[in-house]
């Protein structure tokens, strides 16, 4: 009997196919990065230029014309703060649901998720009015509150699924040894759930950084995030692709690199622990 190959496709073909597909999918981003180092004329040359002397002028000009650093700082502050506050509110809730399960727990979880299904635009008018009345329009505080609230259901869900994985026997053993609830949390549950907390935090950081709807509608020159800055480059005409690319690259590079380093945790987190 002829020995059946272990793999459906020989190694060489698999490797080639995987690389071709990957490079095709990555191409738009690679192209964007290339464009950022071209002059405006090189950026629209026909046929496209592959080889050129790179320039850093675009980056300098983006900073000078639209104050990149201000928007970057806003993005950083709003995403970090909304994540930290979100974790502080979501962790006790998830802990309570995972370890003191009641007959309402399931409904509560589903209800939380259902608030996330509501399109943000549905709440736009009231939130806008509220933000205006409370002077939170175009402030970082306003964005932090909104980002935090809109991520909260996902945070509770993720943390809940991580806490669920901690075996009850460990907790019972701690209780038998006379640990108080605080000790039980601080010494046992918390260290065991640290990976879960990290994944949840990482994911919310990415989600907040990339949030466009609320920052587009509630912030502009003062509290605007990078998503706002980029949208301001969307004017229909104008051959300014090199600058647009530079601004885009500066907006996504921090979070993409961050994502590369934490991708394993991120993916595991996003599955709500349902996939191993």
């Amino acid at each position: 009997m002829a020995r059946r190959s272990k793999y459906p496709l020989p190694l060489l073909m698999r490797t080639a196919a995987a690389w071709v597909i990957t490079l095709l999918l990555f191409f738009p981003l690679g192209w964007l990065a290339l464009m950022a180092f071209k002059t405006e004329l090189q950026a629209i040359s026909v046929p496209p230029l592959w080889w050129f002397t790179p320039t850093l002028d675009n980056f300098r000009e983006v900073q000078e014309r639209s104050d990149y650093l201000l928007y970057a700082r806003n993005s950083l502050i709003t995403s970090v703060l909304s994540t930290v506050i979100g974790l502080m509110i979501a962790t006790p809730a998830a802990y309570s649901m995972a370890f003191f399960k009641s007959r309402h727990t399931k409904n509560l979880l589903m209800w939380m998720l259902s608030t996330k299904m509501m399109p943000a635009v549905g709440a736009l008018v009231p939130i806008y009015v509220l933000a205006q009345k409370s002077q939170l329009l175009d402030t970082r505080t306003g964005l932090v509150i909104i980002f935090m609230l809109s991520n909260l259901p996902i945070m509770v869900w993720m943390l809940y699924s991580y806490f669920k994985e901690i075996p009850n026997e460990i907790l019972e053993a701690a209780r038998m040894d006379g640990a108080t609830l605080w000790q039980e949390f601080y010494r046992v549950t918390f260290p065991l759930a640290l990976g879960g907390l990290a994944s949840t935090g990482l994911l919310c950081l990415v989600l907040s950084w990339n949030k466009a709807f609320w920052s587009l509608n509630l912030s502009s020159a003062k509290a605007g995030t990078l998503a706002t800055l980029i949208a301001s480059y969307s004017s229909p005409e104008g051959l300014f692709w090199a600058k647009l690319s530079a601004a885009s690259l500066m907006a996504i590079a921090p979070i993409v690199v961050f994502g590369w380093f934490s991708q394993k945790q991120l993916v595991q987190g996003l599955t709500f622990g349902a996939v191993k």
Partner: protein, 286 residues
């Protein structure tokens, strides 16, 4: 066990979410039955169901519902099918697999406004865009993506962003396949198609549910991609429900009609949520 403590721990999250849901909802209900046009502040007062009638009989409305469903359905099918293919392709080791993984996941971290502008200008531009240049190279007429196929363009952008996500979830799931079972099937001479049919695809059932659930949550309200590229047009060709409400509120300044539309969106969200509960609710009982 003390019964107060669990509730106390739950309170901050439940209370904030309740406020986050109820206050805007109550205000929306109120706005939806009054005359509330930001450009005509002198016109006020109760006007019954007129806003609803206006929103629901607007010819854009049915187009927007259809577009929402088309967008949602296409992206889910594309990402699940291609994501599964990709995951199976890179499941076994090959040279450079770690780098491939990193490159593949990158689009998922790109913010929607950058994604939209990148595709609008550098990929789909009918003269200078890469796609146009490729068509010319092969002797075809370049496609006017955003004006001739606006919805397809949006579907491409959103799928590009979410395909890596689906692929990585499936990849993670495949890592936990029972290797001995697979080996046994191979020894017994199962063809690759048979392995797919009886081993791989059944194993991916739950991950598919997870992908569908998360994409439902995020894609029901696709906004930035439409806002920064087609602006919903031409006509209503790429307007989804979320964008239609936005148009009513900020382009027509009619907060009343927009609120009526928002209530419709809440209804839509609840239908989707009911579907979700069927999909994942079972798992919560274990």
């Amino acid at each position: 066990m003390n019964r107060l403590l669990p509730r106390l721990l739950l309170t901050p999250a439940v209370a904030t979410l309740l406020l986050w849901m109820l206050v805007p909802l109550a205000m929306t209900v109120y706005f939806s039955v009054i005359r509330y046009n930001l450009m005509q502040p002198d016109q006020t007062g109760f006007n019954g169901l007129e806003n609803f009638e206006y929103f629901l009989t607007d010819p854009s409305f049915s187009a927007a519902v259809l577009n929402t469903i088309l967008l949602l359905g296409s992206v889910i099918v594309i990402t699940v099918v291609l994501g599964m293919g990709l995951a199976l392709l890179i499941d076994e080791a090959f040279p450079g697999r770690a780098v491939v993984r990193l490159l593949l996941i990158s689009p998922f971290f790109v913010m929607p406004t950058v994604n939209a502008l990148l595709w609008k200008h550098m990929m789909m531009h009918p003269i200078y865009g890469v796609l146009a240049q490729v068509s010319i190279f092969f002797g075809f007429t370049p496609v006017e993506w955003l004006s001739d196929h606006p919805l397809v363009s949006i579907i491409i952008m959103v799928s590009w962003q979410w395909l890596p996500f689906a692929a990585l979830i499936f990849m993670t799931a495949l890592q936990s396949m029972n290797r001995e079972q697979l080996e046994a099937a191979r020894m017994d001479g199962a063809t690759y198609l048979q392995q797919l049919r009886y081993l791989y695809i059944p194993h991916l059932g739950r991950p598919v549910a997870v992908v569908v659930m998360i994409e439902l949550i995020f894609l029901l309200s696709v906004f930035a991609e439409i806002y920064t590229t087609t602006g919903g047009g031409p006509g209503d060709a790429s307007t989804n429900v979320a964008f239609l409400i936005f148009k009513q509120a900020l382009l027509n300044f009619d907060a009343g009609v927009a609120s009526a539309g928002a209530l419709f969106a809440v209804l839509l969200a609840n239908i989707a949520a009911a579907f979700l509960i069927r999909l994942v609710g079972k798992d919560l009982d274990k």
